[in-house]
Symmetry: C2
Subunit: 486 residues, 2 copies
């Protein structure tokens, strides 16, 4: 009886587990499908790219399906398929780089291979494989070694690979066939067909430009820095209810910049293969992006250290904190706004915001001076106090370095904007000047040493007194407002 | 007459330029050859790898040269050559990963391709290419899309590529040939031959293990950190002639760590494909290396910020500097020595140095306390002083964070050493304990607040008073010395 019950239980347990498993399996599958959908939606270009590969594959298949084509190329058509599969990359630059590498390497290696076969035939049927083997060994080893050199690795790695491949194939199969020239010609021609299809589909069907990706990536990275700086006050002074807490979510975005060098280098490399497109000319200074990117990363390194102080529980005493809060907040906010203006100028590829960038940086620097005054005024009363304010002082020091970093970024972008032919407009320039006057007001009129300012609401609009430091702008009020909306 | 002279001059000028050019060309060539030689000498494994590729290529060529082999495989032998060229990678892990991916993908895609051809034949001669085209399009697009998923991209990217390639080829050429099974079999078999030759040559002829490279890389990176810390005093207090200046050369080595994440990730990925070898078992915790590497990079970020203060001309006043020099020097030196001990423990894969690591870290922490006392004693006399000591205070703060980083690294390595089965010996452990006693002496007996200590020679040996904090060690003097030599 007990045994029966046990068996019953076991049976029920088994069915239960089967049920559990099937429902879990179902959940897993739906979850996975949703993941895939989300992944496609995140960047629909991925789906489009997959379709493009499918189209290119179907097109080269015609070499087999269409009788006249099959008669001229025969089984060599498979080289076109192979070429499409290995050459078609996500970006135009990637496809061009691989396609051109493959084309050139095949041409050179094919010619050398035919030459090697003819040379080897002088040595008779016994000597031929020995000579061919030696040639394949030495050229293969030399080309493999060349792939280690950084310069070749960067731009011609695939070409070297295809060189080894083609030379070995032509040289070795030349031993067994007399129609080596016909074979080499057919192969070269089908590879050209495959490569051309890839390049055409890649450029003319929803192209993905590596250069544009790089451009956007740099702008986005600077934007991430700006987000961190704008959310900094709220993060570091969590007691103040001045800043809303929803900035936190994007505050850690900067972390991706710490390790983005590889992607940037790759994109810059591929971008150099691309023809002029859209706003980018043929000789766009792609390499210069890397300089800006390096400075951006330097800034992110500083954030990483700052973060330790933001997250730390051992902050300086409240009194000290409240004294430095105002200048710290202005420094980070203005530096953040300078970065936002830089982002805008990169995104629109115009120099309109240069004045605004400089104004924000100036404000930020003025805030550094206020900070120094605040620090002086918070002169420690006892020895113990000095130790207590150290975390706050360190944080402030690093933030000053961040402002320097932001200035360097702005200089690099300005230098770069000249090389990249950023456009210059008059009207927005004036608006930027107006902005500067306003900002001068915003940054310096406020009392700096107002100590405890917990009640003051910083997010409320400033009193609209316009303080011009030189001459009043000559634009009309309408223009002024219009530009402000920009 | 003048014309003649001019012509003469021009002629001479031309010959001069030709001479210049030829000598420049010669110099360029010799320089390049020297570069290549140096490049090969820097890592002779590159030359060996190139030779190995040559050998593998020559071996697969035999499929053509040897008549019985050619009779059985025919032109399919070229797939073996293709496989060798594209599968043979620098590391064993890379070759195994590509080889296995290629083998499996070919098997699966080949089977599916044959199935697709048989299915398509049901639809008659007209429908066949349409069905085949649709299948090639949809499977090609789906496999291309799958390559975007990080998990697949990381480990099976090449497999997906080969899947598309093989399926398309089999499906498309199946339309024109009836001997599709024979063809698929020949191709699969030659690919297996090529892959096997690659894997065998890669493993048994001077293998380059990705895992070992990763292991060495992490140890070297920690060593770079240690070098920076050991040279820190000389860098930051350049007036003191205590420390020789030749440490400078290796002080900036740490910069390579800032961007080494890509290489580390790749190596860890490849290492997981490798069988057990040497000191590494099959399931060696390769992923854990990345955790240690992340902490090492975090430490390098701190150095990057520290560096700004080291290179800055606005250092704190000399009096203040001399007060903090002693604890700062001890902190950085002891942290550096802790890292050196960690490097040794990683390199020897033993836990012998754990005690020594902890002792150095403890000393470093004690120096932090001394630093706090020094800071207290350097209480600013005027408001201006507070501003002046800020750079020094910031530098000290960051250095404290570095010590925390070092402690985290040591913890991570200790956790890791358990998982990686680091060996444990008795004798060196005792020696480490002795070392600890000695180090306790070294770190804490010295007077901390001796202020101006310019004349004191830190590099001279310490007075050999042994201060034991628990019990004297039970080892004999001989053992003690022997272990010290270790």
């Amino acid at each position: 009886m007990e045994m029966d019950l046990n068996a019953q239980e076991k049976k029920e347990g088994f069915f239960q587990r089967l049920k559990d498993f099937s429902s879990k399996f179902k959940d897993g599958v739906t979850k996975r499908i949703k993941n895939v959908q989300k992944f496609g939606k995140d960047d629909p270009r991925r789906i489009i790219h997959s379709m493009k590969v499918g189209v290119a594959l179907t097109l080269v298949s015609l070499l087999y399906y269409v009788r006249p084509l099959y008669i001229s190329f025969g089984v060599s058509g498979m080289w076109a398929i192979l070429t499409v599969v290995v050459v078609f990359e996500f970006t135009v630059g990637g496809t061009l780089s691989k396609g051109l590498n493959r084309g050139f390497a095949t041409l050179v290696a094919g010619a050398l291979g035919v030459g090697a076969v003819h040379l080897a035939r002088f040595f008779g049927h016994q000597g031929e494989p020995i000579i061919l083997g030696m040639l394949v060994f030495s050229l293969g080893a030399a080309a493999t070694f060349s792939r280690f050199f950084p310069r070749i690795k960067q731009r011609y790695d695939y070409g070297a690979l295809i060189f080894i491949l083609t030379f070995s194939m032509v040289a070795v199969s030349g031993y067994r066939t007399d129609e080596i020239l016909v074979m080499a010609y057919q192969r070269l021609f089908t590879i050209l067909i495959g490569g051309t299809i890839c390049i055409l589909v890649s450029i003319f069907v929803c192209p993905v430009w590596a250069g544009e990706d790089l451009h956007k990536m740099i702008a986005n990275n600077i934007n991430k820095l700006a987000n961190y700086l704008e959310g900094f006050e709220g993060e570091y002074f969590p007691l103040s209810d001045k800043i809303s807490k929803d900035t936190n979510s994007c505050a850690r975005e900067y972390k991706s910049i710490l390790t983005s060098k590889g992607t940037e280098d790759t994109l810059a490399n591929l971008a150099r293969w691309e023809p002029g497109h859209g706003r980018f000319r043929l000789r766009h200074p792609w390499k210069k992006y890397l300089k800006v990117a390096g400075l951006v990363r330097q800034c992110a390194f500083h954030f990483e250290i700052l973060n330790g102080y933001v997250l730390s529980n051992h902050k300086a005493p409240e009194e000290f904190q409240s004294k430095i809060q105002e200048p710290i907040a202005t420094m980070s906010r203005e530096a953040g706004e300078a970065l936002k203006a830089i982002v805008k100028s990169i995104k629109t590829m115009s120099k309109d915001d240069t004045a605004s960038v400089n104004a924000h940086i100036d404000n930020s620097k003025k805030a550094i001076k206020s900070l120094r005054i605040a620090l002086k005024s918070s002169y420690p009363e006892t020895e113990k106090d000095l130790l207590e304010i150290i975390p706050g002082v360190t944080m402030a020091s690093i933030l000053i370095e961040v402002v320097n970093c932001v200035e360097k970024i702005s200089e690099a972008v300005e230098e770069f904007s000249g090389l990249a032919h950023f456009k210059e407009n008059l009207a927005p320039k004036l608006s930027a000047e107006i902005g500067q006057h306003q900002l001068l007001h915003k940054g310096s009129v406020k009392p700096v040493l107002d100590g405890d300012n917990e009640e003051e609401d910083n997010s409320s609009p400033h009193v609209l007194i316009t303080v011009y430091d030189e001459q009043p702008p000559t634009t009309t009020g309408k223009n002024y407002l219009g530009a402000e909306k920009n």
